[in-house]
């Protein structure tokens, strides 16, 4: 009765009919055809069974056979409840109906019923209709499973990218953070020393000339803590020796402890004699100790400023790259967008890979999903770096013509073999060893360019020259 080429599926079917004879007949026919079933006498019972099977993980129904005229809850109401319930709305519903009830059937089809089955029941017809519904449900279930899997893989690609970024960023943030932390820890002991030096100075009861001299020196201290005198190691060593002799001659114990900061402040013996001319060998050591302590404090503060500024800078770079706290669609300057991406990838681009930027100057801003475009550049540049094996050149170009902005990303790596070029944008296609790529990087880039921005992405590749060309309409959104 069924065409032998048609696949036959077995399903779990809910029979909803108030008439016992109908339920018995349908049950019998379904049983003969190898399906399993449950029965309900009205819509209310049917919904209870459907919801229970969904909630408890007991065999889920594949199809509902639904009578129209029933007490308690009729077919229309049942159908509308099924279609309203997100967990049930995809379940195919086949209406059971006498042939003279076409109007009611049409109404049900309009409400979302999939098909109808005329009474009296014809086993062959029932089989064909059930089979058609089961086939399409099976396909839909497969499609859903596939989409779900794809969503998960895309998520894992995102996480992998995030992981790489996090590692790079952690590395970048670590140095300034460690420096700032180290300096701030040294502040308290350094302050204590300065405090003691202050007290020593106060106890000397200096003249107003001497106090003015120290005030002048403090200005120098602040300036030199930010811009210390830059000299080579040999010169430094010479200067320090000279200073050590001078300091010793003026009664300082442990003179070597002060020479480094004095050199940084560009204070030679001659300059010291000039600045501290009003000081004798009694109070000169106290002034030098104070000078050194003050310099240490300002230098530590400067290190903290440097470290925390660098951290802020890195965070700004990340914010620019991710378009954090900004609307998803922006008027994007692709040159800026490329630079932001380079800044974030700085960690990967350090060793052996040189980047040449060949941007056109006045490029129109394009309407785009900013952070998604950065993802496109990131994925292509990352692939280029991988292809170069950490040595080579990447050239970034931008240009525009006729309402289109084009970005080229070129590398001088080994190239993509011609036979795999047509497949590089396919999802899950990768040439990297297992565990090193999801095969989604270029597919994501393709989706973002083509589907999200109505743009184009092509690749030209020969050994020694691989060029990705991304063209985006200026007003494509």
């Amino acid at each position: 009765m069924i065409s032998p080429t048609m696949p036959t599926y077995r399903g779990h079917i809910l029979i909803v009919d108030d008439n016992r004879v109908n339920r018995l007949m349908l049950s019998r026919i379904l049983e003969e055809q190898g399906h399993t079933f449950a029965t309900a006498e009205n819509g209310f019972q049917a919904l209870e069974l459907l919801r229970a099977s969904n909630a408890e993980g007991s065999p889920a129904f594949d199809i509902v056979l639904l009578d129209i005229l029933m007490p308690v809850m009729d077919g229309y109401e049942t159908l509308s409840e099924i279609k309203k319930d997100p967990a049930l709305q995809h379940l195919p519903v086949i209406m059971i109906s006498a042939l003279d009830e076409m109007e009611s059937v049409i109404r049900c089809i309009e409400m979302g019923a999939r098909d109808y089955l005329p009474k009296p029941f014809e086993p062959a017809l029932l089989n064909a209709r059930l089979n058609a519904s089961l086939v399409s449900k099976r396909l839909r279930d497969l499609e859903r499973a596939y989409l779900q899997q794809e969503v998960m893989l895309r998520q894992s690609e995102k996480l992998a990218t995030l992981g790489k970024f996090s590692a790079g960023m952690a590395h970048e943030l670590n140095n300034p953070a460690a420096a700032a932390r180290r300096s701030s820890k040294q502040l308290a002991p350094a302050l204590q020393i300065l405090q003691e030096a202050h007290l020593a100075i106060i106890s000397m009861e200096l003249s107003s000339d001497q106090i003015s001299a120290l005030r002048a020196l403090e200005v120098l201290v602040q300036e030199k803590a930010i811009h210390p005198k830059l000299i080579n190691a040999l010169q430094r060593s010479d200067l320090e020796s000279t200073l050590e002799i001078w300091l010793e001659a003026h009664g300082l114990e442990e003179p070597w402890a002060y020479t480094s900061s004095l050199v940084n402040m560009d204070l030679t013996p001659a300059k010291l004699e000039d600045h501290l001319s009003g000081f004798d060998d009694q109070n000169l050591p106290v002034a030098i100790a104070w000078l050194d302590a003050a310099y240490t404090i300002y230098a530590l503060v400067e290190e903290i400023v440097q470290g925390t500024s660098r951290i802020s800078e890195i965070i700004s770079t990340l914010k620019a790259y991710t378009y954090m706290d900004q609307a998803p669609v922006q008027a994007v300057d692709v040159n800026e967008s490329l630079d932001n991406t380079l800044a974030v990838l700085a960690d990967r681009l350090q060793e052996g890979v040189t980047v040449r930027r060949d941007y056109i100057g006045d490029i129109p801003r394009i309407q785009a999903y900013g952070s998604e475009l950065n993802q496109v550049w990131t994925n292509i540049i990352n692939n280029a770096v991988d292809a170069l094996g950490n040595t080579g050149e990447i050239i970034l170009r931008s240009r525009h013509a006729n309402g289109w902005v084009t970005v080229e990303i070129e590398d001088n790596g080994p190239g993509i073999p011609p036979d795999i070029q047509p497949r590089i944008f396919d999802p899950f296609f990768t040439t990297k060893p297992p565990g090193h790529g999801t095969g989604l990087g270029l597919n994501i880039a393709h989706t973002i360019v083509v589907q999200r921005h109505n743009g184009k992405i092509v690749v030209h590749s020969n050994p020694g020259k691989t060029r990705f060309e991304v063209s985006l309409p200026v007003n494509g959104l």
């Binding site: 108030d18 008439n19 016992r20 004879v21 109908n22 018995l24 007949m25 019998r28 026919i29 003969e32 005229l69 029933m70 007490p71 006498a98 003279d100 009474k119 009296p120 029941f121 014809e122 086993p123």
Partner: protein, 118 residues
């Protein structure tokens, strides 16, 4: 209508075909029908006295399709007419027709009982 048979043998053999010729199951179906039909008929009587045209219609509809299953075409047709009356909400002419239908059901019942025991 008068010359129609109480049970159309074609209809009945069609039913038997659709259940794979299983006569024991046919007996089961007949039994269910004979058990449930009096309930439906009394539901129709009740609906009539309470002027509940919707219940009247539903019971008539149910009888129409099951009766047709067994080849009881005249009874099915009478049920169909009463279903229409219930649908229109004009139950005035219904009592006479319902009495005729009850009468017809007795004949169908006798016929089906003899099929079942044979």
């Amino acid at each position: 209508m008068a010359d129609q048979e109480i049970i159309d043998p074609t209809g009945l053999s069609h039913l038997l075909d659709s259940i794979g010729g299983d006569e024991a199951f046919l007996d089961e179906l007949i039994e269910a029908y004979l058990e449930d039909t009096p309930t439906l008929l009394s539901e129709m009587r009740q609906a009539l006295s309470s002027m509940d045209s919707e219940s009247f219609r539903r019971a008539a509809h149910s009888l129409k399709s099951t009766s047709a299953n067994f080849g009881a075409m005249r009874l099915s047709k009478m049920s169909g007419e009463l279903e229409e009356i219930g649908k229109a909400g004009a139950l005035e002419g219904a009592p006479v027709k319902l009495a005729q239908m009850e009468n017809e059901y007795q004949k169908v019942k006798d016929a089906l009982e003899s099929i079942r025991s044979s």
